[in-house]
Amino acid sequence: MSGWARHEGLAVALDRENVDTDQLIPARFMSTPRAEGYGRFLLHDLRFDAGGAPVPSFVLNRAPGASVLVTRRNFGSGSSREAAVYALVDYGIRAVLAPSFGDIFASNAVNNGLLPARIEADAADALIAALGQGTAPATIDLAAGTATVGDTTLPFALDPVWREKLINGWDDIDLTRHHAAAIAAYRARLAADRAWAIPRGEHAR
């Protein structure tokens, strides 16, 4: 995963609360190999009718090409399916601005270079009203912790751990392998301190 510090693109508003991961990607698409791309599944049942035709009134169909999504509270709630993030990323979304996110979704987002930026509910209201069914130029500055949508620049909240990770494009497995000695020492203590924590049975080793 490559890091990024600044993004310029187009913002669009998704005027809904509780956009859960089942809406972000319906479960029936999740057996698809990632290599085939997940962008076409993003918000599938809102974007496409039962016959597969685009719903003309849906905002992503009216305003294609968006890379910044402004939405309401509890975005990405529900299942831990990272496929919800794959759908956003493969579609081209780089940042989501919302008053709150599902905890697991937010972790998954950062692991895939997608920014879950928390903004005040009032700020979300104002941006959603200003965007309406259209788009506006948007700039995200990760180091400064600000988002600019149209004429409005506002701060967003982001855990500093996640900010560093997004900017550096860190891979946790590589980072963790630097701590191999500490992990091995913990593993050695486990058998003495909590022997009962090693599963019993014919398949335990």
Binding site: S77, D103, D125, R187, R200
Partner: protein
């Protein structure tokens, strides 16, 4: 030494190191994988990495498990075959379709004694919070994190804030853990516990069986909490003793001594405290498309008129999707089918509760009953519950996630209304344009025999509520 919460004790015991920025590297005692873990196995394969601790990793076929006959489509068969191949390649114990231990991951972990107090348990599934019912630090993770656990047997995580939900008093007849969970989620919101680990406490929680405690912890994520916890006690130990993978002999005694030290210290401080009175909780049903959109079954469909504009728009959107008319009694809402199953409510106690209502009665609508595991299925059949369901006209099928997540081909048709013992009433969760009402298994049974949303309590008159 400062007073510590159950969360603190679990965290401290698993923390290998903590970075200056506050992120902890935690040891993972149990890693549970399923068909959906294919992305993660693919990630470690790309890097040529082995599974670090195959003996602490357990696989199960559940999300795509067929409940009647073979896999419904080639894509579903491929998902199962991929898990089987990955388990074989890495030497991971797999609870496959023909294994008598197979079932939903959050049902079989405890059943097998793999879930224990004091452990850290990860699974690529948000309902991993279920295992917290045993006093384990258990939380759902995404595919990148699953790959990390496979490769290192550790996970990076920041310690959440501790929150305690205390429920004192006694739950009324026909009211159970599902109602308790939906009650707090309706009050605090679907993101009400975001960023927190919830510890459930109080006399009503202590009085719950392990099955009830699992239901309560399972639904923590529907209120936004990645972690749900209940301190272990004699009920916990009695459930676990003698389970296939649970400690035995001297290990058991040592374990129980360690587990007895886990409960939060009396003067431990929680960042948030919430209290509920068990006696005030009625049987609850959801009416909307988020678990927070829930009301006592005795209420009426909410009316957007008179609400602030933002709330009115949300409520109206939910009512439009659900096809409901404001102001009508919830008990007037006719249903098309029922489903009893899922990691939330498919354990033996759940099936007994539904059967207590269904015995000698007929369902007015079609429906599925999917036990949470093959062991639950065998137990239910030994008790004759399968015959009660069949005589009521419901299909008694195999174990798996089934119609809760609609990945295996079991789904609710477009526009159909389903009374469901599951965990999510999200749009499209049980099938495109399906309408889901969440409720307890007993309440699903009540809906089945009446053909509409119904209060189970009168139907239990003169019966043992099981």
């Amino acid at each position: 030494m400062t007073a510590r919460t159950l969360l603190d004790k679990l965290w401290d015991a698993h923390e290998i190191l903590r970075r200056a920025d506050g992120a902890s590297l935690l040891w993972v005692d149990r890693h549970l994988v399923h068909e959906g873990s294919h992305h993660a196995f693919g990630k470690i394969a790309e890097r040529g990495l082995p599974v670090a601790e195959p003996g602490l990793t357990f696989g199960v076929v559940d999300h795509y498990a067929p409940t009647r006959g073979g896999p419904a489509t080639p894509a579903i068969a491929r998902m199962i075959a991929t898990l089987e191949a990955n388990a074989a390649a890495h030497g991971i114990r797999l609870f496959g379709l023909t294994d008598p231990g197979q079932g939903i991951v959050h049902v079989i972990g405890p059943e097998q004694g793999l879930t224990l107090p004091g452990l850290l348990i990860n699974c690529g599934d948000s309902h991993t919070s279920t295992h917290g019912a045993f006093g384990a630090l258990a939380f759902g993770i995404g595919a990148t994190e699953v790959a990390h656990v496979l490769a290192t047997q550790t996970i990076w995580q920041k310690r959440p804030a501790a929150m305690r939900i205390t429920v004192d008093g006694r739950l009324g007849p026909g009211v159970g853990a599902k109602d308790l969970a939906l009650a707090w989620i309706a009050r605090l919101g679907a993101d009400g516990a975001r960023g927190h680990a919830i510890e459930y406490a109080g006399t009503a929680v202590r009085a719950l069986s392990m099955e009830g405690r699992m239901t309560l912890c399972n639904l923590s994520i529907e209120g936004g909490a990645r972690f749900g916890l209940i301190a272990p006690d004699e009920t916990t130990f009695a459930y676990l003793k003698g389970r296939p993978h649970a400690p035995a002999g001297a290990d058991w005694d040592r374990a129980v001594a360690d587990w007895a030290a886990l409960p939060s210290d009396p003067d431990a401080v929680f960042a948030r405290e919430v209290t509920l009175d068990a006696a005030e909780i009625a049987p609850i049903v959801t009416w909307g498309t988020s678990p927070e959109e829930a009301l006592p079954v005795t209420a009426t469909v909410p009316d957007p008129a008179g609400l602030p504009p933002a709330d009115a728009a949300r409520v109206q959107a939910s009512l439009d999707y659900m096809g409901l008319v404001p102001g009508r009694p919830l008990t007037s809402v006719a249903i098309d089918r029922v489903f009893i199953g899922s990691c939330t409510n498919a354990r033996i106690e759940d099936l007994r509760a539904a059967a207590a209502v269904l015995a000698g009665r007929t369902s007015r609508v079609p429906g599925l009953v999917s036990p949470g595991s093959q062991a639950v299925k065998a137990q239910a059949e030994a008790e004759g519950l399968d015959r009660i369901f069949a005589q009521a006209g419901l299909d008694w099928v195999g174990a798996g996630c089934s119609m809760c997540v609609a990945m295996n081909g079991d789904s609710v048709g477009a526009g159909e209304r389903c009374a469901s013992s599951t965990n999510r009433n999200f749009r499209g969760r049980q099938g495109r344009d399906a309408r889901t009402h969440l409720m307890s298994p007993a309440m699903v049974a009540a809906a089945a025999v009446t053909g509409h949303l119904a209060d189970v309590r009168p139907l239990l008159a003169g019966r043992d509520a099981a």
